[in-house]
Point group: C2
Chain length 483, copies 2
């Protein structure tokens, strides 16, 4: 018969076993609900040696046959403890009988070379490594990549998005799956992970984070979330997770409704779109705005930096008279036309940059500089605005509107450009900011200027003030030919 | 000519004037956008004498003719500074020439008498006072009540909701208007309010908060939000406000879609509803869940405590066979029937409570105790379950299923009740918790028990195990008559 101490020990083991079983059931149920694990799925486990990924390995060993698992350790060669972590991972997999592979990546150099953040580079390199190693190990068969994000990570992401500015998508937090990436531990809290590892007597390495974004994330992890848990609700992390799940389903619904509405009321082609107003009134304001965002994003080729203010300005056009227009990021212009609102991406060229030292006064005929040529010719025929061919490097302007000698030069303090037919002007600097021109390029962009008033951002847009109209008498043709 | 110091002073005044104009334009634009102020609206200003409400008074004086304004100070008689604040408000209104009224309320006594929180009582009394004072002052004409909530208050509410658990509605934060309540300063940050008051040289009293909920709110105000602003994004409060606006519009859209879908697929009557499955498949999962929540809320008469798990259990019934059912809060049962899902609120009675000391063994015939009578009669006719009339104080049970002598008593450790036709049981305690029976009542509820197995919670539901079925041979009729 076991003595008292033995009994206590057995009871502790039983408790650990129960806890461990609970954890496994919970992850199993979550994977089933979210469809994360198929019966024959090959799985790569991203194994950093931190608590989360060690837990992921242990739990997946209970749910997936060993032969279908491969643990991959990414060595970022940044931390002092990198070798220790790699050795820990190797040893752990050896003990558990799981296939193991370590990959060294250099996120810092990669980031420098490509002008991205170390964090972004690290993420990119990790997923590239998983893909390469996976293809080789599983002989070209499909595989999934299991990442150890947990419920606390989700709450941190939601708060980060919330404070930085987000929509319903950001509230959805971390997804349980995307492409071939799965996150089986998303339903588990950090404290549960630690308790589980301790209940099964499993060690792990301490995760020291290195990436830039982790500074703000750590503020949330170490200060904001603990306050929320201690002072407001001990189950705050679970509550945020529930909201995320609801928001995910809601986002999905909104996407569907927006796509349906967009196909009903809009016609989108490459670089332009028309929103017809026939069925416009059938839709709720929220869906109207969502459709406008969708259309602007498709015409722009990106959703980034399209703000509520831009969407409102397009919506406002509905009640304005035909001909009114607004300028938008990515050189887009939205115009009220008879049948609705037309969104056009103007001049999808690229900014022509050079190292031109001083300004060059342009004269009629050919003007050469630094291997480039700008020619200025007076056109004899009056042509209709709409018939002007769109060529990036040729522009026609209203000669009578030019007050000074035209010059080609780089930007100067005080430069401005007219951005619509109503004569609205914008500081060139604001224009560059709105158009997302990288600041290092701004000083090199070639401009044709009439004093401080910009006529043409070469290779890009013409100032609206100088556009040829029906009242134009004298047309000037400007042609740029680069080296 | 003004000297240097005079110039500096004039410049300062100009700056103050500009700032003050900006503030007024901002509030004006917000009120226009949100339709808060009509031209002839009478307005009550809730004037606590704190910065927010003093700012509200000053700004509204610029936007609304004086004669249409009435400032009301609610004296909660709790703070030591209550008299000082009231005197400040009176003096301010005298100086500005605005009609003023102070009202004393006693939230603590009111709360005690009604078993509510002091905060809830305070809110109730404030709005009651506004209504009464407004009716009198404006001679029965309509009026609005302007409250000084600001953009920081909104962010606090969103975070409070987020950590406590919320849906998209909670993310919408504080509404700019509801019924006759308007919040013109919701577009203004707390720092802007303080800067504005300083720019116009306007004093105010420090707000010392007294209500229970303010403890948690203050944690967010003084700790979490400052961290978010300093460490994550200085414009965090604005970003949360933008999200709230988006969520508000989204919530509105979802409500409309849910109402449309509910009227398409469900038939709701008092205390029961049927969800038909004919068009069920046409709807997105999110809308299905939203419809189920809507229907359960309408049958229950309250949305509170209906959780995602309850909604899921109802949704799951769709794929189960006819006859399967689940128990829900508020004594609701959802059952898979041929045409879809039927939701019924069982026994909408009330718990009969008494101070019965000991258990009383029931015998056939009349049993009297404490002025009440329970009669037990054997029914001669076998009646069909569906024909049993629904009377709160009369129940028919299957006599053969009773193993012990029936007793009437209060609850005891180990009591349980069968809650569905498949024989699922629940601890009585859990049942009381799920049904939101206040804990102080639980010990006094009268029960008819068969050992630990509860036959009837008197005035309320019958244990499913004892229900009369087609196989019942002997029916026992139980009738309770109270004093």
């Amino acid at each position: 018969m076991p003595n008292r101490l033995q009994k206590k020990y057995l009871a502790m083991c039983m408790k650990g076993k129960l806890f461990s079983n609970q954890m496994i059931s919970k992850v199993k149920a979550f994977c089933q609900e979210e469809g994360l694990l198929g019966q024959n799925d090959n799985i790569i486990i991203g194994l950093s040696s931190g608590a989360d990924s060690v837990c992921l390995l242990c739990v997946l060993l209970e749910l997936v046959p060993k032969e279908q698992l491969l643990a991959v350790h990414i060595n970022h060669s940044i931390r002092e403890t990198a070798e220790r972590d790699q050795e820990f991972a190797r040893k752990l997999c050896q003990d558990k009988g799981v296939a193991f592979k370590a990959v060294k990546v250099d996120a810092i150099t990669y980031a420098k070379e490509r002008g991205m953040s170390t964090e972004e580079a690290g993420r990119l390199l990790r997923y590239q490594a998983f893909e390469e190693v996976g293809k080789e190990h599983f002989h070209g068969s499909d595989f999934k990549v299991a990442i150890a994000h947990n419920m606390d990570d989700n709450a941190e992401t939601v708060l980060l998005n919330l404070f930085r500015g987000t929509g319903i998508k950001g509230i959805s937090g971390i997804r349980s799956s995307r492409d071939n990436i799965i996150r089986p531990l998303l339903c588990i809290k950090r404290t549960e992970i630690e308790a589980y590892l301790s209940s099964i007597g499993q060690d792990y390495c301490n995760d020291e984070t290195n990436f830039s974004d982790d500074y703000t994330r750590n503020k949330i992890r170490h200060h904001i979330l603990p306050l929320a848990k201690e002072e407001i609700n001990p189950r705050a992390v679970e509550r945020v997770f529930e909201l995320s799940n609801q928001a995910e389903s809601l986002y999905d619904f909104i996407e569907e409704e927006t796509a349906k509405a967009a196909s009903d009321i809009a016609k989108v082609e490459a670089e332009h779109a028309v929103i017809k107003l026939e069925h416009w009134g059938n839709y709720h304001d929220y869906i109207k705005r969502s459709v406008v965002l969708d259309i602007l994003s498709r015409v722009a080729g990106s959703r980034k930096d399209i703000t509520t203010a831009h969407i409102e300005s397009v919506i406002n056009l509905v009640d304005l008279q035909v001909g009114r227009e607004v300028s938008l990021p990515y050189s887009m212009v939205a115009k009220r036309v008879y049948e609705g609102i037309k969104v056009v991406r103007e001049a999808a060229g690229e900014y022509i940059a050079s190292g031109l030292d001083e300004e060059l006064v342009l004269k009629e005929g050919k003007n050469s500089f630094e291997g480039s040529i700008i020619s200025m010719e007076v056109e004899s025929n009056i042509i209709n605005n709409n018939e002007i061919p769109v060529k990036n490097y040729t522009k026609w302007v209203d000669y009578d509107r030019i007050s000074n000698s035209l010059v080609v030069r780089h930007r100067r303090r005080g430069d401005y450009i007219t951005i619509n037919d109503e004569g609205r002007t914008k500081k060139l600097k604001s224009y560059f900011v709105d158009e997302k021109i990288p600041s290092e390029v701004r000083d090199k962009v070639l401009l044709i200027a009439d004093g401080s008033h910009i006529v043409w951002i070469i290779g890009y847009r013409l100032g609206s003030y100088y556009k040829v109209t029906e009242r134009t008498n004298k047309i000037l043709k400007l042609v740029f030919k680069g080296e």
